[in-house]
């Protein structure tokens, strides 16, 4: 961190762009946490049996109780004539809404099959919105695998929500990104202590939380994968705030500072509010991260959280980075984190999984962050892994979770050091 060169960090470093087999989820997968976050919403995927199977496999048993999502599975007859498919969809929605009268927002989620047969879900959503006005608002977006990767599903959903926001000239702060409740509340508490008024969060937990947007709106992303939502906010006249993402003590401080600078919060107030939790976080991280210091790290592309997390693990936990893969790199959004990455590492975008596996075996890193399909095969070859999917479900943002975040990575290393029995599978 001391040399002059590292000021630019990896901002202008060459990015290894790969196109081969991707081993990632599609955007539908975001529904697994979005439907929990938006308590009056239902996500109706218009897709195939594969889409339904993906959702249940990725969800595992976590959400078996009353999931607010489902799949309208296209059948042979729907593919034959397009007029039928529209009617069928209306019938399915009617069936659903009569059973679930608590639903106020219905997302019609496009999939690969619905995109390929050009099923016009946008028009369908408009028609249905009119029909069920004002009880239910029907919104369309695509979570298809031919267009979106994993967390981009949340991005596409949020983008559609933003498109429908009322205009307003109010001076306000909007925060983008679905966060676990505990983190959400902590964040709002911090912002309130900092004296910020008119703080709104998207997506709304309930539709009656009114969020508007306009040229006096400043916004900041709490998640790095919200590129399209970012663009849509800008199109609506809102002004972006850039900062490293709020992971760890440094990330959280920088993120809050960027907001405070825009809203003219004094240094005294800022220090008074953040000093104690920051110090608490630093001490906690130090305890947990001992086992991480000096260890090498390889991140497979998964959620777009990779660059900010690499920043945290390198800068605050002392890990050595080998490769940081991301399904997509939105330079503006992750730029502040990218700048803080050390030079000489591999930054890759997209994927050719077989080649990437060759690289991981060349380097034999101490810790590999990867998807569920790869974790056990890598463990069986002697690597220690951390499943990436946990990072999008768990509370990992802001000061009080900083040490938890570090321990998510420390635990697998700890565990493999504890076990004295080999690992032949």
């Amino acid at each position: 961190m001391s040399s002059e060169k590292s000021l630019a960090g990896c901002m202008n470093a060459p990015v290894l762009k790969e196109r081969g087999q991707h081993e990632v989820f599609c955007g539908l997968t975001s529904i697994i946490w979005l439907h929990r976050k938006m308590q009056d919403a239902f996500f109706l995927v218009v897709g195939s049996r594969t889409c339904a199977h993906l959702l249940q496999s990725a969800a595992g048993v976590m959400v078996f109780a009353e999931p607010r999502f489902g799949t309208a599975i296209l059948e042979e007859t729907d593919l034959a004539g397009m007029a039928d498919a529209q009617e069928e969809l209306e019938r399915t929605v009617e069936e659903l809404l009569s059973r679930r009268t608590d639903i106020k927002r219905l997302f019609l989620v496009g999939s690969c099959p619905s995109e390929v047969i050009k099923l016009d879900l946008a028009t369908a959503a408009e028609k249905l919105s009119e029909r069920y006005f004002p009880k239910v608002n029907v919104i369309n977006y695509s979570g298809s695998g031919i267009e979106t990767t994993f967390t981009q599903g949340e991005d596409a959903c949020l983008e559609a929500v933003i498109r429908g926001l009322e205009p307003s000239n109010e001076r306000q702060l909007v925060i983008l990104g679905a966060l676990p409740d505990i983190v959400h509340d902590q964040m709002l508490r911090l912002l309130e202590q900092l004296g910020l008024k008119n703080v709104l969060v998207l997506p709304q937990v309930r539709v009656d939380e009114k969020v508007s947007v306009g040229s006096n709106t400043h916004f900041i992303c709490a998640q790095p994968f919200l590129g399209a939502s970012f663009e849509e906010m800008v199109r609506r006249g809102a002004k972006p705030i850039f900062a490293p993402f709020p992971f760890g003590a440094n990330g959280t401080t920088a993120w809050l500072k960027a907001i405070c600078d825009i809203f003219g919060v004094s240094k005294e107030t800022f220090d008074a509010v953040t000093d104690a939790p920051r110090r608490r976080a630093e001490i906690a991280i130090e305890k947990v991260s001992k086992i991480l210091t000096g260890r090498s790290l390889f991140l497979f592309p998964d959620s777009q959280l990779e660059i900010p997390l690499a920043r945290f693990l390198n800068q605050e936990c002392g890990m050595k980075l080998i490769e940081v893969g991301s399904p997509y790199i939105h330079k503006q959004l992750v730029g502040p984190d990218l700048q803080l990455l050390p030079e000489g590492i591999i930054i890759s975008e997209g994927q050719d999984v077989d080649k990437q596996l060759d690289r991981v075996f060349d380097h034999m890193p101490d810790l590999t962050v990867c998807g569920l399909g790869l974790a056990n095969p890598l463990e069986a070859k002697g690597l220690t892994t951390k499943w990436a999917i946990e990072l999008v479900f768990s509370p990992i943002h802001f000061y009080e979770q900083a040490a938890d975040l570090a321990s998510l990575f420390a635990r697998p290393i700890n565990r493999s050091e504890k076990l004295k029995i080999g690992r032949v599978a």
Partner: protein, 509 residues
């Protein structure tokens, strides 16, 4: 269009992956978008496989559509061949690629690869996972098998086990032991564990053991037609079925079966007095056709349960299932809609469910114990220990597994005796289950199922309601339902303690 939340089966290409992953030296190139790679985690996480499934996904994107998805597919085939050097290449399309009609089979053929290429037809919008496995294995057998002399010793093939199958790994071992005890060797077990070279030798066995009709029947029929290889029709799950199976085999290959080692503990465990409490416990059975039917036979004839509901999710077995259920005086439930299954379970209020992962969750919701007998299953149903379903050890495993969720015999009596003891009350649940802690609500929520009765406004008087609470929870649902039915039939508008006991006497068994 069909609204679905949870599905019993994945799409047909998942069946193809189960076959490819079960085999060795086979690779599948699947024309599919990136999200479809989720299928890998079924094998690496749920089944804890130590390697990736041998599948290359083309992961085409929107920008490739209409331009070069076909060349993407060809490139993926060539690279997959070069990297993995399989002895057999399977090619197919998932639901999305089926719509863009690139013809993977035709494309792969133009590449002139030095190994056999099997194109798969996997109609995603009509069929499901089991069909996909059945079809894939059939195509492999059709491509690779050739006429051979029968082996000099008596041999058979084990047909149907796949990756991600419910206890397939252990069933293969158990069947091998059973057949060996009869002096019969296993020629090939497939798809599970077989290489393409093994499949080439498939026709030299004297007969086939069709372990799982769901995934092996097409291949067995083909082998019978083409090489006059008969196949067994009995699936040896349960003591009665094992003995039928042994008889069937001894007739096919004309041997004396007296050496068959079929000894299982199940008959004695079932006969021993502690098991008396199992008598006529009401069970609901649901799963794939094969496992559900074998389970029903065991439940009725080997454990002494009363089967109050029976069905399967795979339409392919609807016909035999209906016929079989009729012998129990039941209408088979054929459905892949878990909400419908849940409704049925609520309506019959069983004391035990034998089902799949789905029914386990339904049971959890309704407070009804459940044992798993069929796919789809989750990670806990791939135990570390040897736990087959077939053969004598399978029967032992089944006895233990089914009885485990229930309150034990003596305990059941004590609960009835001390039903108001504050520590030893029924809501504490079976004493060997830590998870059932006092205070947890275990009462089956059968009240919802009796909605129509509630509409008739039959009122439970306070005393009667209190008395009902004293009945152990595992029969309380049934008692409530019977009493309401009795009241309704007799035109009562209220239920008193008197009515409760009149109903009890009326339904006494």
């Amino acid at each position: 269009m069909k609204l679905s939340v949870w599905t019993y089966e994945g799409p047909p290409h998942v069946g193809a992956i189960r076959v490819a992953t079960g085999m060795e030296k086979v690779h599948l190139v699947l024309h599919a978008p990136q999200g479809d790679t989720y299928a890998d985690l079924l094998f690496t996480m749920i089944e804890r496989r130590n390697h990736r499934p041998p599948v290359t996904y083309t992961t085409f994107q929107a920008r490739d559509l209409g331009s070069d998805t076909a060349s993407l597919f060809k490139k993926a085939c060539i690279e997959a061949y070069e990297r993995f050097k399989p002895e057999l290449l399977l090619v197919g399309a998932s639901c999305t690629a089926e719509l863009i009609q690139d013809d993977p089979g035709g494309l792969a053929e133009t590449l002139g690869l030095p190994v056999p290429v099997v194109p798969l037809e996997l109609p995603s919008y009509q069929r499901k996972e089991n069909f996909g496995a059945d079809e894939t294995f059939f195509q492999i057998v059709k491509t690779l098998s050739r006429p051979l002399e029968k082996t000099s010793e008596i041999t058979c093939n084990l047909i149907g086990p796949t990756a991600l199958g419910f206890r397939h790994r252990d069933d293969v071992l158990e069947m091998t032991k059973l057949l060996n005890s009869m002096g019969i060797k296993v020629n090939v077990s497939a798809p599970y564990g077989a290489t393409p070279k093994d499949i080439e030798l498939i026709s030299q066995a004297h007969f086939n053991v069709l372990m799982y009709p769901e995934t092996g029947e097409m291949a067995c029929r083909y082998l019978e037609r083409t090489y006059s290889q008969p196949f067994t029709k009995t699936v040896p799950i349960g003591v009665g079925a094992i003995s039928d199976f042994v008889k069937e085999v001894s007739e096919i290959v004309e041997i004396n079966a007296s050496n068959a080692d079929t000894y299982s503990q199940l008959p004695w465990y079932s006969a021993s007095v502690d098991s008396t409490y199992l008598t006529s416990k009401r069970v609901f059975i649901f799963g794939d056709g094969t496992h559900a039917m074998t389970a029903a036979r065991i439940a009725k004839d080997e454990i002494g349960f009363e089967v109050v509901g029976l069905g399967c999710f795979n339409r392919e077995l609807a016909r035999p299932m209906r016929k079989f259920a009729a012998t129990f005086g039941l209408d088979a439930l054929i459905s892949d809609d878990y909400l419908e299954v849940e409704k049925h379970i609520q309506a019959v209020a069983p004391e035990l469910i034998l089902g799949t992962q789905m029914e386990r969750h339904i049971g959890k919701r309704l407070g009804i114990p459940c044992a798993v007998i069929s796919a789809p299953v989750h990670v806990q149903d791939f135990p570390a220990r040897y736990s087959p379903q077939m053969g004598p050890e399978g029967a032992n495993v089944i006895f233990d597994t089914w009885v485990h969720p229930l309150v034990m015999g003596l305990e059941e009596h004590l609960l009835t005796m001390f039903r108001e003891d504050f520590e030893f009350h029924d809501e504490a649940g079976p004493s060997h289950h830590a998870a059932h802690s006092p205070g947890q609500k275990n009462e089956p929520q059968v009240t919802e199922a009796t909605d129509n009765i509630a509409e008739n406004k039959i009122i439970w008087l306070k005393d009667a309601e209190k008395e009902l609470k004293k009945i152990p929870f595992f029969v309380r649902g049934k008692a409530r339902k019977n009493t309401e039915k009795y009241a309704e039939n007799n035109g009562f508008s209220e239920i008193s303690i008197e009515t409760l006991y009149e109903a009890k006497a009326h339904y006494a068994r």
